[in-house]
């Protein structure tokens, strides 16, 4: 099996999607000749031509608005927003148009759009290049939101997102683009439904819940904890809307303790939703309140302070300790 980086795996997924469905169109800023600033679309224009893979003017609202029109004309658009922070200029089109066109047209105008957005922090990028958008988009009826944690996940989730008949916001963890993994992209993945999470490490004392780049960080935490005899389960949530509430409940009902970890700020972050879902389903089993380890309620900081902001191993381990030592009353 080849060893592929996340960036290569996503590239391969786009390539296979274009081969399998000639209605798939890839477009965005610098995705054609350049192959994207992260090279995720590298070589696709040469392979599929300038009609299937094309550069757009620098205007995110126009890119997403054009995707709406293309979907109305029966195409399957896979636009790219170059960086997370530049999804904000397209928010009107995403929320007011993409998310509700199927609803308001009573199903006449489906929006099978996959909006790829290089997302999250961790690479000491400039301002507006390190945003976590998942809670914003998960709040919008009509959208689905997904984020892969590694190359194999990235390949299969992107294929699944493009095949999906509804609009999917596909958040790519930039800090994981160059992480390599052995996997066989031509080997069909076990068909997991949209909205399913995955236990990436089994454990018994507590469940760590994460997505994107926080999944490997939680795996590191689990390694460290194991040295002290603490057995942590790690769940890659993968789909941030719909959320696999049953999968989370299955894990937490066994471990009876949960810690959710994300890069986004704490307040009204997706961790609050995860915490509520777990509490609703596992109130009787829970031995401690669900802990949240997140970014702070501050604008995403400059690179020099990034490591202070992002959930680090120590902060996650401290939360694990808090939940293990929690006593009622």
């Amino acid at each position: 099996m080849p060893e592929l980086s996340l960036q290569q795996a996503l590239n391969l997924a786009l390539c296979h999607a274009c081969e399998d469905d000639d209605r798939v169109l890839i477009f965005g800023e610098d995705v054609g000749t350049l192959g994207g600033v992260f090279r995720v679309t590298d070589g696709l224009q040469a392979k599929f031509g300038e009609q299937r893979v094309f550069d757009t003017p620098l205007a995110e609202s126009g890119i997403v608005g054009m995707a709406v029109g293309l979907a109305m004309a029966g195409w399957r658009p896979v636009p790219e927003i170059q960086f997370d922070g530049f999804a904000y200029p397209a928010i009107d089109q995403i929320v007011n148009q993409v998310a509700r066109m199927h609803y308001r047209s009573r199903g006449a105008l489906p929006m099978p759009i996959t909006l790829r957005v290089p997302s999250f922090g961790g690479i000491k990028a400039p301002e507006h290049h390190g945003e976590s958008l998942e809670a914003l988009f998960a709040h919008v009826p009509g959208l689905k939101v997904v984020s892969p944690s590694g190359p194999a996940e990235g390949y299969h989730l992107l294929r699944q997102a493009i095949d999906d008949p509804d609009p999917v916001i596909f958040l790519e963890p930039k800090s994981r683009y160059w992480h390599r993994e052995s996997f066989g992209p031509t080997v069909p993945a076990p068909r997991m439904p949209v909205g399913s999470s995955r236990v990436v490490r089994a454990g018994t004392h507590a469940t760590l819940i994460a997505w994107g780049a926080m999944v490997p960080r939680c795996l590191q935490v689990a390694e460290l904890a194991a040295e002290d005899g603490v057995s942590l389960e790690v769940v890659d949530l993968r789909w941030l809307k719909p959320i696999d509430a049953d999968g989370l409940a299955e894990s937490v009902a066994r471990t009876r303790r949960a810690v959710v970890v994300h890069e986004a700020p704490l307040t009204a972050g997706l961790g609050a939703e995860v915490s509520a879902l777990v509490t609703e389903r596992c109130f009787a089993e829970l031995r401690a309140p669900v802990q949240r380890v997140t970014g702070y309620d501050v604008p995403y900081p400059a690179g020099a302070l990034e490591d202070e902001y992002l959930p680090g191993l120590d902060r996650i381990l401290t939360a694990v300790q808090t939940t293990l030592e929690y006593r009622r009353g």
Binding site: Q51, G62, G65, G69, Q93, Y103, K241, P242
Partner: protein, 323 residues
């Protein structure tokens, strides 16, 4: 319609006018919560929509384009159902009608016309998209983005601006820098034309020229139809706060319907009135017979297939509704 047929254009305008009056009456009677009258703009709407080839073109209207729906032969009860607050976007099939559900986000759908036009170009259908928007929308960034994209890709799209003098209370001279939306076309490297928006034949012919250009691969066109919103912005608006009756009366002399009627016989006009009255009676009856959609439809079209979380909410709604 292949060439401008004045009698038919007049008949369509009259249907739009009488239906517009009926919608306002229904609002005053409490049947319709709110309505955006199109009185005065019938020539711009009917003339441009009648020029389309509805076997392959597609329209992207805003909320004041009843005349376009009339001219395109859309099911008017289903189209107007959105004003009854029955369903956002209306109950008609947008694909069959070749008319997108109208949009309250001013300027937003102009980019959709551009995307649709690219899709049509890739498919080689010869189809052209038309986007109807107003002088107010021309201020929106999306309209700039749409025109720039269309210019860069040379797409088959017609940007049809109805400059009706007013964006709610703001007059065009305080809305449109430089004074002309059509003049902006030059900046995008596309054809731009200003037309008398109350001359239905002139509008039809200008639109036909733009459509022919688009089909010939010669790219997009901006048409700025100069017209006047004779009525209020909406049934909740009070134009007396921002413009004078004298101003409105001056434009009454330019009413597009009498202007068209001047070229017809008395019999033709009488027949058109009779036809319009029949349409209005049928539409009124249809609208008053509409009932709210079943509550289950809150959940039906959010996704192609509802998610588990949505199904759970639907079950909870059902239990509460049945209790």
């Amino acid at each position: 319609m292949h060439t401008a047929d004045l009698a038919e254009l007049h008949r369509l305008m009259l249907v739009a006018r009488r239906l517009d009056e009926e919608a306002i009456a229904l609002q005053r009677q409490g049947a319709i919560p709110a309505y955006a009258p199109s009185k005065g703009q019938e020539a711009a709407q009917v003339g441009s929509a009648a020029a389309l080839d509805t076997t392959r073109d597609f329209g992207f209207p805003n909320y004041r384009d009843l005349g376009a729906a009339v001219a395109m032969g859309v099911d008017l009860v289903a189209y107007l159902s959105t004003h009854l607050n029955i369903w956002h976007g209306g109950l008609y099939d947008a694909n069959a009608a070749r008319l997108a559900p109208f949009n309250a986000v001013v300027g937003g759908p102009v980019t959709h016309a551009v995307g649709w036009a690219m899709g049509a170009k890739l498919d080689g259908t010869g189809g052209v998209a038309i986007s109807w928007f107003g002088d107010g929308a021309s201020s929106q960034g999306d309209v700039h983005e749409a025109m720039n994209f269309a210019g860069v890709y040379r797409l088959p799209v017609v940007f049809f601006c109805q400059n009706n003098g007013w964006a709610i209370s703001l007059p065009t001279e305080r809305q449109v820098a430089g004074g002309s939306v059509a003049a902006r076309a030059a900046g995008y490297g596309m054809a731009g034309e200003r037309v008398d928006g109350n001359d239905v034949v002139a509008v039809f012919e200008a639109t036909r020229r733009a459509l022919d250009r688009a089909r010939a691969g010669e790219g997009p066109t901006v048409i700025e139809a100069m017209t006047y919103r004779l009525g209020p912005h909406s049934t909740s608006d009070d134009p007396g706060r921002y413009r004078s009756l004298a101003d409105e009366r001056a434009w009454l002399d330019d009413d597009p319907i009498p202007r068209a009627a001047a070229g017809l016989t008395g019999e033709q006009v009488a027949a058109a009135e009779e036809h319009a009255a029949g349409v209005v009676a049928r539409v009124r009856e249809g609208l008053l017979a509409l009932r709210p959609r079943p509550g289950e439809e809150l959940f039906t079209h959010v996704y192609r297939e509802p998610t588990g979380a949505l199904l759970a909410q639907q079950r909870a709604w059902k239990e509460a509704a049945d209790a």
